[in-house]
Subunit: 185 residues, 6 copies
């Protein structure tokens, strides 16, 4: 799995959650995860979560840290699995970096008490599955009660690079686990 | 996903990690997770992890809490994903039950400092994928430096039932996440 | 599998045969079948059957009973199989309700002598397969020689609810059959 | 799909439900259905249906007409679908050949009132899925209340050949339906 | 696998590389390969190769021999495999027809010394995978240093028909190889 | 894809064509190809090719160069595709190394006039597909008219290492081709 931190500020509007985004725009090919910093403002046209669409929820925030994964040759359920492991990785990283903070992972969401830290969606595409996972950098512009990396005094850029590396390690050790097990008859 | 706690003591020798085990022996059908308490002593014949087989490692313990999952219609990578989410669920449950204990998840393993709490394997079968995940109830008879539920004063039976429920919730919310996302073109 | 009878009159124009239709518009999630009553008038843009498209056939009728299924995590051939089982279920239901009527199933079509009762298509989508199956409620506005529920004095609404239940039973017993069989080596 | 009627009497003991049986023993390759006449006596070792295994049911009969299908490159659910369509085909054929007989299909079983006509199982294998479907030729030696082709004065051999042809037609028209549908976006 | 040589001149602009093209426009259904002669001028909108898109390459030529394959029920990697076997088939055919010419196959490209003979892409679609493979008939209008069938005095039409037949033979013998091998446990 | 030349002489008896052979015995994990030199003598128990089994053919030779591939997460047809590309690679390598020799590839077989150079089989396993491809080093002990590397004065060991490298390059460029193509709608 390749990874890359994209240096420019990019507004996540949902159009980035498309097949071969990382390859077409950032020369990252194959199973991949890219991270970038920018506002979040997902148009209805690009919303993938039918709960949000049906309820008319806004998906927005003035500054977030975004991760976009593309996974080939596997099931959507494997992408949903990785999505939640990313949530778990982010939780573990913040808890080990920040004293006395305990986050709660519920499905693909992370909470600090009743404050939401993250948004996420996984969806199928043609020939691959896609994941968007994003954490608030600030609480400004969010449509619900949130917490953010600023609340934990976590610097986004080095945090992003640690998480990128841990996602790659997780997926590669998953691949490794898969191929070193004998089948059961 | 169906779940069941099996009341009788069962020695896990690896033969339980076979397709339709829960259905054939315990009337639990379809996607399933069953838990039981018993010794662990995996014969070479039933070892699935080639790292263990190649290194001649023993897989044993005098008393462990075992979970066996069977997943249909998905990829092995989804099973490997759930395997690690089970590790994450066990970690979160112990940390929330026991004051000041922090566990580390590394892949599908859980550690308390340098003491290993768990063993696990996921493997493909015909028509399904299988997971074995087990945590030490005592440290007796383990081949490496371990920790156990006894070290944390955690009662195995109610703990097992909480974890069973959380595994079912996790998988069902993953299924739900999968079917409520629009595809990306 | 969830099912729902949609109370409002809906004109089937082919746009309903899209991924997550039942979830997006009617809060029915996962494997699903929904039924509704309404005219049928499929635009060329939404025709999926290349035989119809290539021959310039019209797909229309003034009043039909429509069923739309979405199936996840399986092959298109399983959807094609269910499509024909729906035809078989409809045939059996009409034959048991109406004295001395014998229908003929040919592939996914139902005939009463040379009068066509139904139209159907199954097609792949992203992350799911889709089925449209519809029976004439009246013979008005149909482009070929047809028969209809009115010919058999069958009330559409209770008939729809019986068929919905039988489709759900069929699929769930198929799922059950799949997971209770040992693999063959 | 190739088909063949095997002229010799073969006792079905369950060992015939294995991958490449028709190819290895009868030179029928690829997607296939073969039929033969013979007793049925399935040993516990070869029973695939866990309901039968768990209940200790016998699967036997002194004379049955057997069909064995092998399907490549599709899901087990497609095989389960074809299995039930075979039941539907057999039902339609008997009903059209025998005056005033109405059979009931329940899942993969056929009944005449409370008398069971058929047995069936579908199971996954490696690289293919397998179906066994058999109808009683006589009621002798059956473990439950049954009916048989003799009750309907149906000659097994020509009946077998008609059914073989209809199974091939069904599968090939399913294949055809699959490839002539445009995908839905 | 069905094949067809399309008699009319068709400009390949990339829009032909779509699901069910051969079925919708030329009555060739299922796994298929069609060939036609015409200019090549792929618009950016229809470019599938991200290397070309990212580098701004032109994909064009005044006269080429085009092959378009559609493969159902298999992986994209099988389509990529067939794509390269088509290159190998074209190489073998030219080498056996033309004295002292040796071509080099590199991936899906064919070269005569440093002159490029062919272009190709394989891509996933919904329910099928697609291949475009084309060889220059003349060197006119090509954006790089090329060779062409004219350089080898090879008549396009009979050459096309030989290659069509060899592609069909290759795929059908691959299908045959697949179904006549016992699985390995 | 990992590759390895195994230094010891190994008799290929068919038992090596099993899932995880390279991992379990030679620490080569994941998609892999290993090569070794040794006699060939496949017992009936390990024969996978039903044509050989049905015809009672012997599969043997006193000295052959063997390649064993294991491919995860793809279809058997992709393995059959790679199998034939290996034949094509071996053909190209010998033709470029040896003056005036032209080999013929027919499916997965290589011939020099009417002398057979190679044997091969691809088969499905659980979680992976397997390929055995072998070329004669000498003509001694072969059951049919053969040619061998000795006829071409090709040293087996450096030849094996070149072919290993080309197989890895082929598969990795196929993987690369797969992930850099946009899907077609």
């Amino acid at each position: 799995m390749q990874c890359k931190f994209l240096d420019s500020i990019i507004t996540y509007d949902g159009s980035q959650l498309r097949p071969r985004f990382a390859c077409q725009n950032h020369s990252v090919i194959g199973n991949s995860v890219v991270a970038f910093i920018g506002p979040c403002n997902v148009s209805f046209q690009h919303m993938k979560d039918l709960e949000d669409l049906n309820s008319g929820s806004k998906i927005c925030g003035d500054l977030m840290l975004h991760f976009i994964c593309e996974l080939f040759d596997t099931s959507v359920m494997a992408a949903v699995g990785l999505q939640r492991l990313i949530a778990s990785i982010v939780k573990d990283e913040i808890e080990s970096a920040v004293k006395n903070v305990r986050l709660i992972r519920t499905g693909d969401d992370l909470y600090w008490n009743d404050q939401k830290l993250s948004i996420s969606i996984a969806c199928p595409s043609i020939g691959s599955s896609l994941i968007h996972f994003a954490v608030n950098i600030s609480n400004s512009g969010t449509p619900v009660k949130t917490c953010s990396l600023q609340d934990f005094a976590v610097e986004p850029r080095p945090f992003a690079e640690k998480i990128l590396k841990k996602i790659v390690d997780e997926w590669e050790s998953m691949e490794n686990a898969k191929v070193k097990a004998l089948p059961s008859l």
